[in-house]
Symmetry: C2
Subunit: 127 residues, 2 copies
DNA sequence: TAGATGATATCATAAAACGATATTAAGGAG
DNA sequence: CTCCTTAATATCGTTTTATGATATCATCTA
C-alpha cells in the first residue's frame, strides 16, 4: 500500500510481524516460520525480507537485540505489536464488509441519500 | 502488491470488485459505495480509482457495459468474481494463521525439524 | 588457505497509490 | 447558439513497496 507508508500492511509485512510476535529471531528464521505457518502459500525472498526488516527497524516496529557474526536477531516492540493488532483489525473489517455485502445489508452512509447505490436490477450473472 | 501483478489484491482493488459484485456501476458510484460500506475507512481518490478500473478491464475482471456521455458503467465478469472470491479466501487464511499463532499452535512444516522456531524464552513484553 | 555454508545487503526494475490537475460531455440559463 | 456549471473520467509525477538476481561477509571445517 504505497504512498501513505505503513498505513495498512502488505501480506509480507504482516507475516514478518507475526513471526516476531512469536519470539525474537533473525531474518532467515522469520522467512522459514512464514513458509511453515502458511504451508508454503507465502514465501519471502531475501530482498523483500530485508527491505521489510530495515523499514520496520526504522519506524520502530522491531529492534535489534543481538548480533552474532552476521546474524542479527530482532524483537518486536510495543509499537510493532500495536501495528500488528491494527492490521488484524483491518483484515477483519474487510471480511466483515464482504459478509455484509453477501447478505446485501443496506449501507449506513452519513446521509443515506446517495444518488446511486439503490440496489438495482441485480448483478447480471451472465458475464 | 507489485511485481507479480494482481496476485493478491490491494485493499482498494478488493473494494472496487466488491462494489461491482453488488451491481454494475460507474467509477464515482463505486467510490461512493466504498466510502459508505467502510464507513469512511477507505476512500479512493480519482487517480487510484481509475487506475484500478483500467487495470481491471485490461485483465478482464470487469467489462464496460454502457457509455452515456462521459459516464462508463462497468460490470464484473466471471473472472472478476473468481478473483474476488480468491481474495476473500486469502484474507481468511491470513486471519486463520493469526489465530493459530495466538493459540501457539505448532507449525506443520514439510519436515517439522526446522532449526529455529522451537518456541523459545517467550516474547519479551518489555520492548 | 581454501572452500562451503549461513546470513545479510544491495541493485535494478516493475507495480501500485494517490494528490493535483486537466479534460470532456451534457444540460441549463439567457 | 453561447456561456457556465456540473458530473465524470483521464493523466502526470512522485513515493512506496515487491522481488529476482547477485554480491558480500562471517564462521566453521578440513
Amino acid at each position: 500500500m504505497p504512498k501513505k507508508a505503513l498505513d495498512g500492511l502488505t501480506e509480507s509485512m504482516f507475516y514478518v510481524l507475526m513471526a516476531l510476535m512469536r519470539q525474537p529471531m533473525c531474518g532467515i528464521e522469520a522467512a522459514d516460520f512464514i513458509q511453515k505457518r502458511t504451508e508454503g502459500r507465502v514465501a519471502l525472498g531475501p530482498a523483500t525480507l530485508y527491505t521489510i526488516l530495515g523499514k520496520f527497524e526504522q519506524v520502530g516496529y522491531i529492534q535489534e537485540t543481538e548480533v552474532v557474526g552476521r546474524k542479527r536477531t530482532y524483537a518486536i516492540t510495543e509499537l510493532g505489536r500495536a501495528a500488528y493488532a491494527a492490521e488484524v483489525e483491518r483484515l477483519e473489517r474487510c471480511l466483515m464488509d464482504a459478509r455484509r455485502e453477501e447478505r446485501r445489508e443496506p449501507l449506513g452512509g452519513e446521509d443515506g441519500g446517495g444518488a446511486q447505490t439503490r440496489l438495482a436490477p441485480a448483478p447480471v450473472p451472465g458475464l
